[in-house]
């Protein structure tokens, strides 16, 4: 059999297995009114939004366990890489150095050389944390191993606390960096009283036209500054909900696909989930870097 024909036969077999699992599984059972084939009986997707407590008495949630796993994994990889470090890297050290160089170049492209030094630790940590959290959620056993009626382990990004914590940290860091770089003049982006005071001074001296124009623009700039403040504050919500929403939607989607077509098709969505985890990690870290650069660099009014 030629190679092309072999590939075609394998593809057809895969398609046949997929369709068979669709017919024999839960959906086919619902349509035909019989019970599904034992191996393909997947329950209807059941989403629990708040994290569960697998050890009933201890206040340890399943997402907390997942974050511990993530921290242990990242620490282990970096410790392995740094142990007996050589000038010419090999093995694990080589891979870790490549990843760090790549991220460093990526950040430097966005923010320039001097700022990159300061932002690299936070941006890299956030990226690695979100990425490893998301990819650990794909390991078999997460959300399927159950203990005391709830999952033993659950992807950490699906608990609103973790994205919220990351968002608050990133936004606070952005503001702190801006204050450090530009001093208290940074607060002029929120409250700019120069035009207003100019207008009032003109009014006091009797120059009506200049005074009124200054007053108008002063109030306008105050409004703009207030909107700017609201925009900065809602970054916390947008960061956290972007990550939380994407990850939860991924979990729900995977559950629904497993319910509909138990074999073959979930592997496609598995790959999609891996891609989404990577993209969300990139976006979180990248947006932090971009906002920090915008806040740190002086404005060009």
């Amino acid at each position: 059999m030629t190679r092309n024909r072999l590939v075609a036969v394998m593809a057809l077999l895969t398609l046949a297995v997929a369709i068979a699992s669709f017919i024999g599984g839960s959906v086919g059972a619902l349509i035909a009114g019989r019970s599904p084939v034992a191996l393909l009986a997947v329950g209807a997707p059941h989403i629990e939004l708040p994290p569960g407590h697998p050890f009933v008495s201890l206040p340890i949630t399943n997402t907390l366990l997942a974050t511990w796993m993530t921290c242990a994994a990242i620490t282990a990889v970096f410790v392995l890489a740094a142990r007996r470090a050589r000038l010419v890297p090999t093995g694990v050290q080589n891979v870790v150095e490549y990843v760090c160089e790549f991220a460093s170049g990526f950040i430097e492209e966005m923010v320039g050389k001097e700022q990159e030094r300061r932002m690299f630790p936070l941006v890299m940590t956030v990226f690695l944390f979100v990425l490893v959290n998301a990819w650990f959620g794909l390991v078999p056993g997460f959300e399927t191993l159950r203990l005391n009626g709830t999952a033993l382990l659950r992807s950490a990004n699906t608990d609103i606390n973790v994205p919220l914590m990351l968002a608050v940290t990133c936004v606070a860091s952005i503001e702190l960096w801006a204050l450090r770089s530009r001093g208290f003049a940074y607060l002029k982006t929120f409250v700019d009283l120069r035009e207003l005071s100019t207008g009032l001074r003109c009014l006091a001296r009797g120059r009506m036209r200049d005074g009124l124009v200054g007053l108008f623009y002063g109030l306008l700039y105050l409004g703009v500054g207030f909107l700017e403040f609201i925009g900065h504050a809602t970054r916390i919500i947008s960061f956290s909900f972007r990550l939380f929403g994407n990850m939860t939607a991924g979990v729900v989607l995977t559950g629904v696909v497993l319910f509909f077509v138990p074999l073959v098709l979930p592997s496609l969505f598995y790959g999609l989930e891996a891609l989404f985890g990577f993209v969300q990690a990139l976006v979180f870290a990248g947006l932090t870097a971009v906002f920090a650069y915008a806040a740190v660099s002086s404005p060009q009014h």
Binding site: E109, F241, N246, A249, L282, G286
Partner: protein
């Protein structure tokens, strides 16, 4: 005609998600179109174009995610 609370809730979830996905969908398409045009004009600037496209798509997608969160909240919490 009386609508039960349950039916109203389900209707609200469907309408919210459906109408909420129109804007971001069109927005992401426009971003992709801009990126493709820029790439066609200047294939050498591939790196920055794609990076900025991903960032812009994340912004547009987050609006759809807000709607999704509202819908999930409506179903499971209200």
């Amino acid at each position: 005609m009386e609508i039960s609370a349950e039916a109203a809730k389900l209707l609200a979830v469907g309408i919210a998600m459906g109408m909420g996905a129109i804007g971001p969908g069109i927005g992401i398409g426009l971003i992709g179109r801009g990126a493709m045009e820029a790439l066609g004009r200047n294939p050498e600037a591939r790196g920055p174009i794609l990076t900025n496209m991903i960032l812009a798509i994340a912004f547009a997608e987050s609006v759809a995610i807000y709607v999704l969160v509202v819908a999930i909240l409506l179903i499971f919490v209200v």
